[in-house]
Symmetry: C2
Subunit: 110 residues, 2 copies
Amino acid sequence: MENSAENVRSQMRKGVLEYCILSILDKKEAYASSILEELKAANMIVVEGTLYPLLIRQKNQGLLSYRWEESTQGPPRKYYCITDKGRQQLGEMDTAWQEIVDTIKTIKEK
Amino acid sequence: MENSAENVRSQMRKGVLEYCILSILDKKEAYASSILEELKAANMIVVEGTLYPLLIRQKNQGLLSYRWEESTQGPPRKYYCITDKGRQQLGEMDTAWQEIVDTIKTIKEK
DNA sequence: TTAGGTACTTTGTCTTGCAAGGTATTTAAA
DNA sequence: TTTAAATACCTTGCAAGACAAAGTACCTAA
């Protein structure tokens, strides 16, 4: 029911995942499994059941688009790429993130 | 259904609220309305319907305790105060928060 | 033709945030 | 004296998101 340390991290991840996805795709297009790897490499543990629905949501919101591409090493891959609308939202997220970081700083310092 | 800018902020706030509460109460005891004011002052908009259940949850987890105190200016106040267990969890949250900040930095820089 | 790897998807549960509405106490005006 | 306003705290019902677990599909090589 509660695994303190891991649960704490899990809760905090909420809300920044979308920001991470857009940031990753702002650099270059990528397919789900590779995004998953980059997130894990950056210490942001996510699982498939979280990532796939999230990508679909962002695509439905017009923040992402995708195209299928054959792979030489298995089934075809769905390459996602950020849209203009996605880039605009990413800008808002950059601001929002900075605000939250500052808010925490304010609360801790006072 | 969607108010982009505000929605973005709202999503990101998720998961850091508990951290904010513990941080505030780590400095000195306080009652709900005053916590609400401090959060608003720090730009972390929260509403009563979010804060009260959260305080109750943290109290039930043994992270907080409280005592009633009469007020000269209205109804009695429920003063919350952080417990040893709460301080321990706050330590874990400090680490988790720093990790997430670093993760975002890593993703953005690469 | 079967096993293993790669990749994408769905379902059900739990937690959290929030809008909206409710209860209770005190003080001061009408 | 009753009414209104301010201060506090609490509850209900809904929506969104994270995750575990299970499922589907494609490809390659033994």
